[in-house]
């Protein structure tokens, strides 16, 4: 019973990690159609931000909360730079964007290696995030996982609110639904693109901060995440936040069940194969966005 409970929570928390790393992509890939292979390196930048911030601020708890907005800005700025330098020239060639950003990810990884060294670096976690949170009965939940879950939900809430309630969100949606009509209506589409990219990349930075609590912080950390993140977005349905949320948690739970029943390797293979098969059945993903534009 205890095991069933902790294992279910494990599934949810794997889902929360997936959601955090995929959330930014669901904006840049989902809304804009840009395949950014350097997304993983933006996550890495977020993680290294924690490391750098902790050099200046010693308190682990304070530094974590300082690092959150800083990482958002750092990764966001990197995203804007990337968009301005390269991606805006490639909107007509989505596949080439994939290759170009892969080149960027190589360069960023090597930069990290040269700046911070090839070995992983360590960051301190506040003591209240390293233990477990006791629950009634004999149950307990890992505090770091709970924190990531809350962070993921907060991020999705903030993103959904931005998209629904703010003028910027309305503009992004307008551009996604019909770029030409948006343009004639006076929406500065290039600026909207850049802002979308800023938010999407910034969310990767936030994910990086969260990952320092559970995983390694090193130059290669991004490469391990990128395929999973893309699969969540693709299976969730391009352009739908709701799809990404449901898919992330579903994949997390599946992973946890398979890991428990078989081995970690087999679970990974099964989940990957499962997503591929699922896309055969529903190539448009869980939710489809219907737009009125032609062509």
């Amino acid at each position: 019973m205890t095991l069933l409970f902790t294992q279910s929570f494990t599934g949810v928390s794997i889902g929360a990690v997936l959601l955090l790393i995929a959330l930014g992509l669901s904006l840049t890939f989902g809304q804009m159609g840009v395949i950014n292979m350097a997304h993983g390196e933006f996550i890495m930048a977020g993680a290294y931000t924690v490391y750098v911030v902790q050099k200046g601020i010693s308190g682990a708890g304070t530094s974590l909360f300082v690092a959150l907005p800083v990482a958002f800005l750092v990764a966001g700025a990197m995203g804007v730079l990337l968009e301005w330098l390269l991606i805006r020239r490639l909107y007509a060639r989505p596949l080439d964007t994939l290759l170009v950003t892969w080149g960027v990810s190589l360069v960023l990884q090597q930069l990290a290696r040269d700046i911070f060294g090839a070995p992983n670096v360590q960051t301190a976690a506040p003591s209240w995030l390293t233990g477990a949170v006791p629950l009634p009965g004999d149950l307990a939940l890992p505090a770091s996982r709970l924190f990531i879950l809350i962070l993921a939900l907060a991020a999705i809430g903030a993103l959904a609110a931005t998209m629904r309630l703010t003028p910027l969100g309305r503009r992004i949606r307008a551009v996604v639904q019909n770029r030409d009509l948006a343009k004639v209506s006076g929406i500065p589409t290039a600026t909207v693109d850049r802002l979308t990219f800023f938010i999407g990349s910034g969310l990767a930075g936030v994910a990086g901060v969260a990952l320092t609590l559970v995983g390694p912080i090193g130059p290669a950390m991004g490469t391990n995440l990128i395929i999973d993140a893309f699969l969540v977005v693709v299976a969730g349905g391009i352009g739908r936040l709701r799809g990404a949320v449901i898919t992330a948690f579903a994949l997390g739970l599946l992973q946890a069940v398979f890991e428990y029943a078989t081995t970690v390797s087999t679970a990974k293979v099964l989940v990957l194969a499962g997503v591929v098969l699922y896309l055969q059945w529903r190539p448009q993903g869980l939710f489809t966005l219907r737009t009125r534009s032609l062509a």
Binding site: R93, L106, V176, Q177, A273
Partner: protein, 364 residues
């Protein structure tokens, strides 16, 4: 440039043949020739990528899968041949149960079966994937990401089955090649000549394909799939053909890689090597036949020689040439020749589709 256009291709092939069969063996040491043999294997993969990606517009990010299938088929046979009749390959006695050969290894004792599988397995897998994917009109980014996911899954699976696949080590220490001792430099040369001959033959075959009706249809599908559909063709079948052929070429390359290097391992199959297969094609010019081949060889050569001097510098160079070549020179180096020789705009520069909202890449 006073060669008539009709003679240009045959002259090119003659030069290539002279370089591969006469110049290289005379000029290069045994060691460098062995490296060139390896580079030519990448070139064979790139040839297939040129067909599927350059001409067909399918971003084949998962060629490692087919390279691995072909390579493992060959390596399994050579490993069994090394072990001798009725015996197990060395790694199985070390890490496996040590007594039984897995049933799916047994048929690979036959050289004919193994050679057939080098082609059949990758092409059959590609046919199944392709049929499923292209019929559902999955294309663009989806196709690329699906290929990568499959590649990753295959590599993880191989690593997990250590007792029957050698795990991360892969199949190493391959000593014989159909009865010939690979330790002998003469036989290494023979392997080189076989690889060079296969590459040349495939180049000629692919060139024939490019100038055929099918080649034109493939380019038409790349540039406007809908219009081809309205003309009464089935674009899915057209794409499937190129995809399966590319997979077959990757399989052949994997199989030839095994005697050339003596190793087949999951490290050659995963996501990263699969993307690296594309670099040469992207730089040389994805739609140009000499472009992909020369690009692949040049990049492999640069990697070997640059990484000797600047190990970390190579990563920057690799990343930067990739960025520059793809972003600013989509036709690759081959497209530069139009500044040198005036030629009419041809199929070699991919047409750019107008920007569409991402949501429509896969019609519901």
């Amino acid at each position: 440039m006073n060669i008539s256009p009709r003679l240009r291709a045959p002259a090119g092939f003659a030069v290539a043949a002279a370089l591969l069969f006469l110049a290289a063996p005379l000029v290069l040491s045994d060691f460098r020739l062995g490296l060139l043999a390896k580079y030519l294997c990448w070139a064979i993969v790139a040839l297939g990528i040129g067909l599927a990606w350059g001409r067909g517009g399918m971003l084949t990010l998962g060629q490692g899968l087919f390279f691995g299938l072909g390579g493992y088929a060959m390596a399994m046979h050579l490993k069994l041949a090394d072990a001798g009749d009725g015996k197990l390959p060395d790694f199985m006695t070390l890490y496996g149960s040590g007594t039984e050969l897995p049933w799916w290894w047994e048929p690979f004792r036959s050289p004919v079966f193994a050679l057939a599988m080098v082609l059949v397995v990758p092409m059959a897998v590609a046919a199944v994937i392709g049929l499923a994917v292209f019929r559902r009109r999955v294309r663009g980014a989806y196709f690329a990401i699906l290929s990568q996911a499959l590649c990753a899954a295959f590599a993880i699976w191989l690593v997990g089955q250590q007792t029957s696949t050698g795990g991360t080590n892969g199949l190493t220490d391959i000593q014989g090649f159909f009865g010939y001792d690979l330790g002998d430099p003469k036989n290494q040369r023979m392997v080189y000549f076989i690889i060079a001959a296969v590459l040349l033959a495939l180049m000629i075959g692919v060139r024939q394909l490019y100038v055929s009706r099918y080649g034109e249809l493939l380019v038409a599908v790349r540039d406007s799939e809908e219009r081809v559909r309205f003309l009464g063709y089935d674009p899915a079948l057209v794409k499937l053909g190129a995809y399966v052929l590319a997979a077959g070429m990757a399989g052949i390359a994997g199989a030839l890689f095994v005697p050339a290097v003596g190793i087949m391992s999951p490290a050659l199959i995963g996501v990263v090597p699969s993307i690296e297969f594309l670099i040469g094609a992207a730089i040389g010019g994805r739609a140009s036949l000499p472009g992909v081949v020369l690009g692949a060889v040049a990049v492999a050569w640069a990697r070997s020689s640059l990484s000797e001097q600047f190990p970390s510098g190579w990563t920057y160079v690799q990343g930067l040439i990739f960025i520059v070549a793809v972003a600013f020179l989509p036709g690759g180096l081959a497209s530069l020749k139009k500044y040198v020789v005036r030629r009419p705009a041809s199929v070699e520069t991919p047409a750019q589709p107008a920007r569409k909202p991402a949501a429509e890449e896969v019609p519901a």
